[in-house]
Amino acid sequence: MFDDKKDDIFLSRWINGELTKEELIAFKSHPEYEHYVKIMAGADALYLKEYNEEKALIALKSKRSSTSKKSGAVIKLWPYVAAAASIAIILGLFLFSSNQTFTSSYGEQLAITLPDGSEMILNAKSKASFNKNNWEGSRSITLEGEAYFKVKKGSKFTVITENGEVSVLGTQFNVYAQDAFFEVHCFEGKVSVVNNKYQEILTAGKAFRDLDNTTPESWTIKAQQPSWITNSSTFRSIPLQYVFNELEKQYNIKIQSPSIDLKTIYTGTFPNNNKKVALRTVFGTLGFEYSLSPDGKTVVLEK
């Protein structure tokens, strides 16, 4: 009757007084009946430690006001304070400091006309800043990444990078400065490249490079402007690491190449506006197999 799979709610029905007359009579004559009656009588004689709702509510309220309200207020105030502060900072930057900074993102180019009409074009993932107010006094730009300059004739024009300074009188040139790689192409006029190790004067059609652990070298170029202006990246005898860096910058990807010697020297070109072709061109010519992650953000290379 009680372990019966067919009536697995028999006792529940009994407690609720839902048994039929016949069922109840049969149950009452069952030897187990009095045991269940006793359990029920015992259970109904149980009660629980009192709960003082008034007291609990008072305790709740004191805890509520001492902890939560305070933090709630702080959280609500913060956005306003932060917003006010950032407005003040932005205003301050515009009004009191005239340093202007331009940053290009992955795969982006940014053309900037400087106060004297000179032009600067930033390649992907690069950053340049200059002092607007003092531009007449000293034409100098701080650069991280790569940029192409068309400089109007005038006073000395200087590009300051971590790897060295490039200064000119009026010319067109390209500077690449990233990590330990420093390369300058002069397309028109004359530029001088200086740092504590060397001083080099580049005339039109000359290029100069300083790569870590190698002696600085200069060579002749035929191009009239850097290749990236026309959406391609060109490399001449460069460790693979920098080619991968450029791919990552142009296409906002991460290249995972655990088993590949990044010091391998590479010469070649890839487009900056067609990821598929670019990857195929670079990895194909090197004989690497590669696979792109589903979100298109990671490339895994295998030899």
Binding site: F2, D3, D8, I9, F10, L11, S12, R13, I15, N16, E32, H35, Y36, V37, K38, I39, M40, A41, G42, A43, D44, A45, L46, Y47, L48, K49, Y51, E53, A56, L57, A59, L60, K63, R64, T67, S68, G72
Partner: protein, 173 residues
């Protein structure tokens, strides 16, 4: 009930809600997790949460909200410790059973009550919860089913199982 949406934020409405639901919630959490002190702390934290979220929880949703929050708090506390159901000092024998609810009233010895309580403590959590909500809080199967979000049939099965288990545990005294 025009501004029912924010009624939970109304101090009086909140107090009223607390008074009508806190006790049963405390008992429910106690039956589930076995520690009365902890259950009362959980109830407090739960209602603080409700107050902080009062603008997002309408009064008609508040009941299921507190049950969900309290159960989750209980689970997160209990996960780290194996709690034995504590009944001493919490479950008490009615002193003078003057209200003879069951017609077949029988005198019950003290030892039997102790045995019964320890048998209840040994029940699986769900059976104990249903059994005590029914016996101590006098909740109907329907009300219990609503609290724990299952069918009445499921509650009836648990109740039946609980009784069979208690009977086996107590034996022939």
């Amino acid at each position: 009930m025009s501004d029912d949406k924010n009624a939970t934020c109304n101090e009086q409405a909140f107090d009223q809600f607390f008074k009508s639901h806190a006790k049963l919630l405390r008992n429910y959490i106690y039956y589930k997790f076995g520690d009365m002190q902890q259950a009362e702390d959980i109830v407090q934290d739960t209602f603080i949460k409700l107050w902080n979220n009062c603008s997002n929880v309408t009064l008609d949703k508040a009941k299921s909200y507190v049950y969900t929050v309290a159960t989750n708090l209980g689970i997160s506390v209990v996960r780290h410790q194996k709690v034995k159901f504590k009944y001493k000092d919490y479950i008490i024998n009615r002193r003078n059973d003057t209200n003879n609810e069951s017609p077949e009233f029988i005198a019950i010895e003290k030892e039997y009550m102790e045995q019964l309580k320890s048998a209840i403590a040994a029940l699986p959590e769900r059976q104990r919860e249903v059994f005590l909500l029914s016996r101590i809080d006098k909740k109907t199967y329907k009300e219990i089913a609503e609290l724990s979000g299952v069918s009445v049939k499921a509650i009836e099965k648990l109740m039946h199982k609980a009784l069979v288990a208690l009977r086996k545990k107590i034996g022939n005294v």
